[in-house]
């Protein structure tokens, strides 16, 4: 008789069968017979890795694992030990299943300059390979659900991930062993498998209790013609996972953790951790939810063809937050704080869930044994109402029966999430200063022509990295991009010849909210190259001049020779536009103003609640300007600025440009001072 009794936290109404251990290979064979590659835990280099295998005998029968902070030891279970021959009593495999849904390297874009000068641009499509994974744990499935949300839940959809997830069959295993570094119970993600699996196994004497958690899973079990599980076997499975939960040690007090953690951005503990942290990035590499990537470009020798590869990156690396001249997170302290506060804090703001699933891999694989459970307790302190001393089942992260979860999304914004490139032509090149050039780009692409001031594009060209460049003017026949030569790609662009083809992706990001200034006084404050993103907005303001009250432009430049758009601005001054300019230093030939940009306010103050200010320049300048505007009673919700961060994807998927709860590329780069709040001044955020 097929038992109707179910084990597990939820059950699916499916019958529980018994899969004898010697028929595990039948399961593998059936999955392979369906055309799937089959992936499971295999012993490799002294640890368990989720790898492709052919026969069940390759699975880690008889192996167990011992973990501690900074320690992972795979050990043979003594032949006379209880459950000596078990296959899955060895904790989660170190690699998890992430490499199979989100490989560490995928070709993303190939570019080639053809003999006629045109550009061949190809966005690489991922291979559609049907995959089955055996031995996924509850934490792995929780991580998969997190990735479903991050990479496929919008607004931008990763171009690679969904197709790898589309035919992905999961045979999960409920853990009968909690390692000392496991803490899924406290994160509400396990050890019970409640969602995301097609088949769930519980390893018991002589085999497995098996249940289908999806129609496909049930069909597979039907095909295997298994005997129903005995009540005692189902009871054993139930008791076993309960025992695993009960045996789980130190956990994370997840109650209110988001707020407690973010209230302690200035904790001295960050610096103490940094003395131990090697910034080796191990934790991010083994983390099943870390999703940050970078773009690496490899070129042929003559620079005519190149491939851009999307590769896992880590917020612990020195270059992760690197922009011109420096990193936004120069110290280990800053990077550890970024990782921990994102994982346990701002992830909720961005994706509606925790970024941690409690698998403990980061604890075990940290070479110096930093334990997030301990660090969170010290930094965030206890929850005010916490009474939990033993792991309790928290609200589940997973919604049973769902694959791609409908979790909270970022606030609606008008930014585009375009991932395809358009071939454009450099129609004209105009040097602005010794190191800055304006490119006139010809295109008839409707999306590019519909760009709005403040947005940016990614520029792909063979052999160079793909820089984000703000749009400095929107024309009827294309765009203008003003570029300062600082690195290889921008130096190439600054010397480019008319007629050259460039691949553009965009427009991206949130534009200046020009309409916020309708009926109001407008103050445009630009420092250095920061005038470029504001130029298009000035165009719009002057084109709709009657919609605004007073309009004033305040410009700071390094020296007289570093002034941008000189002839154009002189013409506007001649037309009566109120433009005030200062330079930071000058030779005796300069008869204009010298001093910092805020001194310009002395002569004509942008004062009062009716002012809308648009500010762009180095962040230090912008904070000085916004301070002064605040003193002059300009409302923070009407003070707009645009932030610079490292951007590699432009659509909020690569993680580089994170600032607190935001991805600057996707949620900005234009923000109001009110939106940014204290994050604008938080050191090394």
């Amino acid at each position: 008789m097929v038992s109707e009794r179910q084990w597990g936290a939820t059950g699916k109404g499916a019958a529980v069968r018994f899969l004898p251990v010697d028929r595990l290979d039948d399961l593998v064979t059936a999955l392979r017979g369906d055309g799937r590659r089959v992936v499971g835990p295999v012993v490799e280099d002294g640890a368990l890795k989720m790898a492709e295998f052919e026969h069940a005998a390759e699975l880690p029968f008889g192996w167990t694992v011992r973990t501690a902070p900074g320690l992972v030891r795979l050990e043979r279970r003594p032949a006379d030990a209880q459950n000596a021959d078990r296959v899955f009593d060895n904790g989660p495999a170190w690699s998890g299943i992430k490499p199979w849904t989100f490989p560490s390297r995928v070709d993303a874009l190939s570019l080639e300059t053809r003999s006629d000068g045109s550009l061949a641009v190809r966005v690489e499509a991922p291979p559609a390979t049907a995959t089955a994974v055996i031995g996924a744990r509850a934490c792995d499935l929780a991580a998969l659900a997190v990735h479903d949300r991050v990479l496929a839940g919008g607004p931008a959809i990763d171009p690679d991930y969904p197709s790898r997830r589309a035919d992905f069959f999961v045979v999960a295993v409920e853990c009968a062993l909690a390692t000392s570094t496991c803490f899924c119970a406290s994160m509400g993600t396990g050890p019970e498998v409640t969602a995301g699996a097609d088949v769930v196994l519980s390893e018991i004497d002589g085999g497995f209790a098996a249940r289908g958690d999806s129609a496909a899973g049930t069909r597979l079990l039907d095909r295997l013609a298994l005997e129903p599980a005995l009540d005692v076997q189902i009871a054993r499975a139930t008791e076993q996972v309960a025992a695993t939960r009960a045996s789980m040690g130190l956990g994370v007090d997840a109650d209110g953790l988001h707020d407690r953690l973010l209230a302690n951005l200035d904790s001295p503990r960050w610096a103490e951790i940094a003395e131990r942290c090697l910034a080796c990035a191990n934790c991010t590499l083994v983390c099943p939810t870390c999703f940050c990537t970078g773009v690496e470009v490899a070129s042929d020798l003559d620079g005519r063809a190149s491939t851009a590869t999307r590769a896992w990156d880590s917020c612990f690396t020195a270059g992760f937050a690197q922009v011109v001249g420096g990193s936004f997170r120069p110290q280990h302290r800053d990077r550890y704080r970024q990782w921990l506060t994102h994982k346990f804090g701002t992830w909720f703001d961005q994706f509606g869930t925790s970024g941690c699933v409690g698998c403990g891999r980061c604890v075990a694989w940290c070479p110096v044994g930093i334990d997030v459970r301990e660090e969170l307790a010290i930094i965030a302190g206890p929850a005010p109402t916490s009474t939990a001393t033993a792991p309790q089942a928290a609200a589940p992260v997973l919604v049973p029966g769902t694959r791609i979860l409908a979790m909270a999304r970022p606030a609606a914004h008008p930014g585009s999430t375009r991932i395809d490139y358009v071939e454009t032509t450099v129609a004209a090149v105009r040097p602005e200063t010794a190191d800055t050039t304006t490119l006139q780009i010809a295109t008839d692409d409707p999306a590019l022509l519909a760009a709005r001031p403040g947005q940016f594009v990614m520029i792909a060209m063979p052999a160079f990295a793909i820089p984000p460049i703000s749009i400095s003017r929107i024309r009827l026949d294309g765009l203008e991009l003003t570029i300062r030569a600082a690195g290889p790609a921008t130096s190439f662009l600054a010397r480019i010849r008319p007629g050259t083809k460039l691949a553009l992706r965009g427009p991206l990001g949130r534009p200046w909210p020009v309409e916020d200034a309708y009926g109001r006084d407008v103050a445009i404050v630009a420092g250095g190259i920061g005038l470029a993103p504001l130029r298009g907005m000035l165009d719009q303001v002057l084109a709709e001049r009657e919609r605004f009250e007073s309009v004033r432009l305040y410009i700071g430049a390094r020296t007289p020779r570093d002034r941008l758009f000189v002839a154009e601005l002189d013409a506007l001054v001649a037309q009566g536009v109120d433009i005030r300019l200062t330079v930071d230093r000058a030779g005796p030939e300069w008869l204009g103003r010298v001093g910092i940009i805020t001194e310009l306010f002395r002569g004509a103050k942008p004062t009062g609640a009716n002012v809308t200010a648009f500010v762009c320049g180095p962040e230090r300048m912008m904070t000085a300007v916004t301070d002064l505007l605040s003193d002059l009673a300009v409302p923070p919700e009407h003070t707009w600025l645009t932030l610079e961060r490292r951007m590699e994807c432009g659509v909020g998927l690569c993680g580089h440009c994170q600032l607190g709860t935001r991805f600057v590329c996707r949620d900005g780069p234009v923000f109001s001072v009110a939106e940014l709040g204290s994050d604008l001044r938080q050191e090394s955020l």
Binding site: P467, A486, G487, I529, R585, P588, R593, I596, M621
Partner: protein, 155 residues
């Protein structure tokens, strides 16, 4: 005494009583464009307020092409703060870059007056300090050379 064309002058922030006492040793000075008003290293002969025009404060750096303008004094702003701060020696050259009028308070008389007239000192010196403080923080910003090339870009 002439007031500034735009913005609030330092003079506007003094009480009428203090202003009238200052006026006793105030003189308007007019300078043509290019005139050197104060020379670096000389005794500073007056504390002044620019009323019209523009004054460039310059440092002489021969190796870098002689004189650099590090800041300009605009109408309403103090010039010659070193007249009331020991050792009363000018720290920069001050050159009119356009026809400029300055209302100047004789340094010796002012210093003597400040010793006796505490009400005047209490009003005037905070304004001088504010000016010096503003120049100091502006110098920090300029020292950062924020608009300059900040090093190699990742792309």
């Amino acid at each position: 005494m002439t007031h500034t064309q735009s913005g609030q002058s330092v003079l506007d922030r003094l009480s009428p009583e203090v202003l009238s006492r200052l006026n006793r040793f105030a003189h308007d000075h007019d300078y043509p464009a290019g005139a050197t008003i104060i020379r670096e290293g000389d005794d500073t002969h007056f504390l002044g307020v620019v009323t019209t025009g523009r004054v460039a404060l310059r440092l002489r750096v021969p190796e870098l092409g002689d004189r650099f303008t590090i800041v300009t004094c605009e109408p309403g702003e103090i010039i010659g703060w070193s007249a009331v701060v020991a050792p009363f020696r000018a720290t920069v050259d001050a050159v009119a870059t356009e026809p400029t009028r300055i209302v100047a308070f004789d340094a010796t008389a002012l210093r003597a007056r400040l010793v006796d007239d505490h009400a005047l000192a209490a009003e005037l010196l905070p304004l001088v300090l504010e000016s010096v403080s503003g120049r100091l923080t502006a110098s920090w910003q300029q020292m950062l050379d924020m608009f300059g090339s900040r090093g190699p870009e990742p792309w």
